[in-house]
């Protein structure tokens, strides 16, 4: 299933880690500087993990891998994440 889905797909696994809703957080792409809600990212979901890519340049923003030893969250592709106030 090579087609991607939307950043909404990150909400479940990320909700196990953080109290904030990742889909309404604003991400700045480390590669092209595009500024967008994570809900707008292109997410490739497979049993290996979730790979979120910039909607603009396609570079990797975030990788999330759930393993029996814990969750690996790699955010090297982001220069920043603005987290919206809750409520």
């Amino acid at each position: 299933m090579p087609a991607h889905v939307d950043g909404n797909a990150l909400a479940g696994p990320m909700s196990e880690l953080f109290a904030f809703d990742v889909t309404v957080a604003t991400a700045v792409c480390g590669s092209c500087g595009d500024n967008a809600h994570m809900g707008q990212a292109m997410v490739y979901v497979s049993a290996m993990g979730h790979v979120a890519r910039c909607r603009s340049c396609g570079d990797v923003l975030m990788v999330l891998v759930e393993t029996p030893n814990g969750t690996m969250l790699n955010v090297r592709g982001l220069t920043g994440l603005r987290i919206a106030p809750t409520g």
């Binding site: 909404n8 479940g12 880690l17 809703d21 889909t23 809900g39």
Partner: protein, 236 residues
């Protein structure tokens, strides 16, 4: 933080020849916003697990949560949910999830909904949320289905009050239907959806190719990409 919890199938109902409504009883469910989804986890007796995301069709309080599931050919989870699962069966869920692809009754601007196939599910939740609130936000729905028999929640959509609903079909239209069966194109979008406006929000949900084509078409018609919210289905 959200984590997995047990849910029990309360009831199921056939929606179309390939789709089913599944109502889950989730102890402690605090309600959800229209457009949110949940992750569903199935565990086989030998420990094998599969996780999929499903949009939530229901809104409001109570611990009953309705999903609308369409069978994906060669899928792993959806055939089980459409053909096998029955009241009393147990599974696990995580949610409600996502605050991006949601409509809140406090949002007063006009709303255009565009559904492809079972992409109607979260959009039906938005129509339900509007009906159960005092919202007067203008709502319009463009719903592309294979045939009239493939329309989910048809009786409910027939009684959606002042929501302006347009159907389009890709394989077979009813007798006398003016538009010939085909995929939605840019002309359809120009004629059958609300024009771009600063306060308009568009929600597009369906299979990846459908969402891609519709979102691209809307942006080319002048819609602000930031106001065109999309939810693509993975599948299986």
């Amino acid at each position: 933080m959200t984590t997995w919890r047990a849910a029990t199938v309360a009831s199921t109902a056939r929606l179309t020849s390939t789709a089913r409504s599944i109502v889950l009883d989730v102890p402690g469910w605090q309600g959800n916003l229209a457009g949110q989804h949940l992750d569903l986890r199935l565990t086989a007796e030998d420990g094998y697990q599969a996780v999929r995301s499903y949009s939530i069709a229901s809104v409001g309080p109570g611990q009953l949560v309705e999903l609308g599931v369409d069978k994906v050919v060669d899928g792993e989870v959806s055939p089980y949910l459409v053909d096998e699962v029955r009241a009393g069966d147990q599974l696990e869920i995580r949610g409600p999830l996502g605050g991006w692809f949601v409509w809140r009754p406090a949002d007063v601007g006009p709303v255009q909904l565009v559904a492809g196939g079972s992409g109607i599910v979260p959009l039906a939740a938005m129509i339900r949320a509007r009906r159960t609130s005092s919202s007067v936000a203008p709502f319009r729905l463009l719903y592309s289905a294979r045939t009239p028999d493939d329309v989910l929640f048809a009786p409910e959509l027939d009684n959606a009050g002042d929501v302006e609903i347009t159907f389009a079909y890709t394989r077979r239209a009813p007798d006398g239907f003016a538009r010939k069966p085909k995929r939605l194109d840019r002309t359809d979008l120009a004629e059958l959806t609300l024009p771009p406006a600063d306060d308009l929000t568009v929600f597009v949900c369906g299979p990846t190719g459908f969402v891609e084509a519709v979102a691209d078409g809307l942006v080319s018609l002048g819609h602000d990409p930031a106001r065109v919210k999309t939810e693509r289905f993975g599948g299986a």
